[in-house]
Amino acid sequence: MASLEIVDVRKSYGETLVLDGVSLAMEPREFVAFLGPSGSGKSTLLRIIAGLETADSGEVRLEGRRIDALPPGDRGVAMVFQHYALYPHMSVFDNMAFGLRNAGVPKAEIETRVAEAARVLEIEAHLDKKPGQMSGGQRQRVAIGRAIVKHPRLFLLDEPLSNLDAALRMRTRVELAQLRQRVDAAVIMVTHDQAEAMTLADRIIVMNDRRIQQIGPPMEIYARPANTFVARFVGSPAMNLAPVDLVEGGGPFARVKLPDGAEVETRVAQAGLPKGGVLQLGLRPESVRVVPEEEATTSAKVELVERLGERTLVYATLEGGQPVTAEDKGASAVRIGDRVGLRVDGSAAHLFGADGAGHHAGAAAAA
């Protein structure tokens, strides 16, 4: 049986439509990330699942039981809020025990569950403290503990790492990954950080502009983006997109011409492409390499160089003004203002039709 099922959920605030017919189904114990920019509707969807917002239409089911008409506390979900939302006047123990007491769980059972969660989260020493006496990372653990003790069927995490500093974020990310191994429940995490989504989730649901743009495992989202939005949003730095013309020819794969005249032999099947109309070529920076003049397929003028240590990112413009991001080795000699040769790896190229839909190498077009 599916864990969470959402069927055609719509929501608007007054005139403003925020969710336009969203549907999805989760596997049992699956970790799903809602990934999207601010205003994409991902938080609203999470709040509808939690019962903190009401959908205008559509259904929400958890393990076969319809929950969209139930009050939040009766849905079998637990939520970790972005700003933790701990009860400031209760001790850590009471913060975790409050929901269990309200649910009428026996006292001994409450103590067992809280002690277990505190042990797992390493906050046993702080059970008598108030949230105000704890650091951000410790509060985050209490918030997670408060969710764990309820033994929910579904965890909802709203931007769980956004309030932590960089070092703590990495550590908490690892802990979240361990957490999901321990709990027998599905997890939904809302995030705008693609690295979090890529590293933690079994599947990513990319949202933008009120709709789900793509659902898939992280590597599929990365390798076969459904459209230009997903292509640009996932991956850092963003994928290069350039308008291209299809070169007429008989081969099975599409051959395209960049504005500066350079041609790229892709591995995208010609058959699946839309006839006529505008095409865009999509290239990840790692498939555009800085190479010596004699190996180059095109050349560009360097605008900015970012040295990251193990590699160097080169922001440049092609003849005709088309911007392109390329990669070079860590010890790159490239400087701003240089003209450099670029070699495009056509086998890793993506093509996008006028409607934005992506066409990728190796299989029929994934719409």
Partner: protein
Amino acid sequence: MNARGRLGGLAFVAPFLLAYTFLLIYPLINGIILSFQHVDLFGGGRFVGLDNYARLFADATFLRSILTTFMLALMIVPLLTILSLALALALNRATRGAAIFRGIFFSSSVLSVTIVTLIWRFVLAPDAGLLSETAQALGAEPIPFLSHPTWSLWALAITTIWWSIGLPMMLFLAGLQQIPGDVYEAAALDRASRWATLRRVTLPALKRTVVLVVMLQTAAQLQIFGQAQLLTGGGPGGSTRTMVLFIFETAFARWELGYATAAAEILFLLIVALTLAQYAATMRGSEADGGR
């Protein structure tokens, strides 16, 4: 800091310091000096030491006024706090109706005490007042609000609560709006009933506001005066003569300025002592709470 900077700084605080010195410090000290003198409005005073204070503690009228004042404060402050909190809880929502009612409930605070007592005289008057007319229409005996010693205290309390409810209500509303919404959402996910949410989330967050309201209102109601003078004139039989009314009568009807000032100093000390005691009690409470 150099001398020039110090002078500049002093220039900025000078206007306030001058006003504060002449309007507060000087009268305070002058009052203390006056309370050790036998003095009337005509001619100078004569130093009498603690004579005024000794007389006061033997003066049954004064001692009774202390009791009356504390009775009134006890009747007003708890009720006022609970009612204003209830109003704030009911009106803490972003609807147009709530905004209108907030305005209505606050509006009584802007009236002067003369108008407030006039309005309540219409309501409480024994012969033709609203309450007595209503009671008579229902065939009941009207309550003698202004002529019975206990009921006239209640008349003062009700009038005062009606008049003063706006400010504490606003303080509670401000306190409520400081509570982040996600805590309530967490409570909803924790299956908290409305009662549990009020008791475990809202009230603890309002603790400081409650303390503030109780402290402000205690200090204010111990100085209750206008209502007592205008609604009951201290009667019947001196049963509603408050401390400030006693001070007023002593100073401006019997012209015993030194004696009245001594009474005022006692009132001042009582208010300071009570406020400090409340403050100390709360501080101890919040330390046990561990900070916030």
